[in-house]
C-alpha cells in the first residue's frame, strides 16, 4: 500500500507536481511526508494540510492508503 499525495494551487507549480504516490513506511507524520516528497524542511505556516479530505496538521500520524493534500491559502468565493 502507498500514500497518495496531492498539491494544489501555486504550491503545485512550486513543487512541480500535482500528485505523487509514496511507499508507506511507518511511522510517518504529515511533516515527514512533506520532507520526503518536497525535499524541503518544515511545512511553511501558510501551507494547509488535509488528510483524507479533512483539515489536519503536521503532526498527524498517517496510515496506509491515506490521501494527503498540501495547499496554499484557499481563495474561493
Amino acid at each position: 500500500m502507498s500514500i497518495k499525495v496531492l498539491f494544489f494551487g501555486s504550491l503545485k507549480e512550486q513543487i512541480n507536481k500535482a500528485q505523487v504516490l509514496v511507499d508507506y513506511v511507518e511511522p510517518l507524520t504529515a511533516a515527514q511526508l512533506w520532507q520526503q516528497v518536497t525535499g524541503k524542511e518544515a511545512i511553511p505556516n501558510t501551507v494547509r494540510v488535509a488528510v483524507n479530505q479533512s483539515y489536519s496538521d503536521a503532526s498527524t500520524i498517517l496510515h496506509e492508503g491515506d490521501e494527503v493534500a498540501f495547499f496554499p491559502p484557499v481563495t474561493g468565493g
Partner: protein
C-alpha cells in the same frame, strides 16, 4: 435542507434559487426572510485588468468541506434552509462564482447565517483562483481580500 452544488459551466444564481424553492420540502409561507449573497468575477485585481480565470478545486474535499462548514454554522445560526452553489473551471468577468442563500423566519438570523457561511467558505473551502491578465500572463491569487 442543505443543498450544495458545484458548477463546471456558467450558471444563473437566481435560477438556482428558484429551482431550490420548487422542492416539496420548501414551504414558502414558513419563512419570512431570505438572505442571498452572490459573488461574481471582477475584471480587475491588484491594479491589473483581468480577462479570465481558472477556478481550481479539490474534488471531493470541496463538497465535504462545504457540507461540514454549513453544518457547523447551522449549530450557531439554525436557519431552515441553506443553498450553496459554486463555480469551478474556466470563467470570465461578470460570471457568477458563488451563491449562498438561506431562509429563516426572521431577518436577523438570515443575515447572520448568510454572512457566516460566506466567511467560512472563504476561509476553508478548497478553491484556488488562477487569473489571466490582459497581457496573457497568469498568476495565482495568493489570499482573499478582507471583505
Amino acid at each position: 435542507m442543505i443543498q450544495i452544488k458545484l458548477h463546471p459551466h456558467a450558471f444563473d444564481p437566481l435560477q438556482s434559487i428558484q429551482t431550490f424553492q420548487q422542492q416539496a420540502e420548501f414551504r414558502a409561507a414558513a419563512y419570512g426572510a431570505n438572505a442571498i449573497f452572490i459573488g461574481t468575477m471582477r475584471d480587475f485585481n491588484q491594479g491589473d485588468d483581468i480577462v479570465a480565470m481558472h477556478l481550481e478545486h479539490y474534488a471531493g474535499m470541496t463538497e465535504r468541506q462545504l457540507q461540514d462548514l454549513t453544518e457547523q454554522v447551522l449549530t450557531q445560526y439554525p436557519v431552515d434552509h441553506v443553498l450553496i452553489e459554486h463555480r469551478v473551471g474556466d470563467i470570465v468577468p461578470a460570471d457568477a462564482i458563488v451563491v449562498v442563500a438561506v431562509w429563516s423566519a426572521h431577518r436577523k438570523l438570515a443575515f447572520a447565517a448568510c454572512r457566516e457561511l460566506m466567511e467560512a467558505l472563504k476561509r476553508d473551502a478548497p478553491f484556488w483562483k488562477h487569473e489571466v491578465l490582459a497581457d496573457g500572463s497568469r498568476r495565482w491569487v495568493e489570499h482573499n481580500t478582507a471583505g
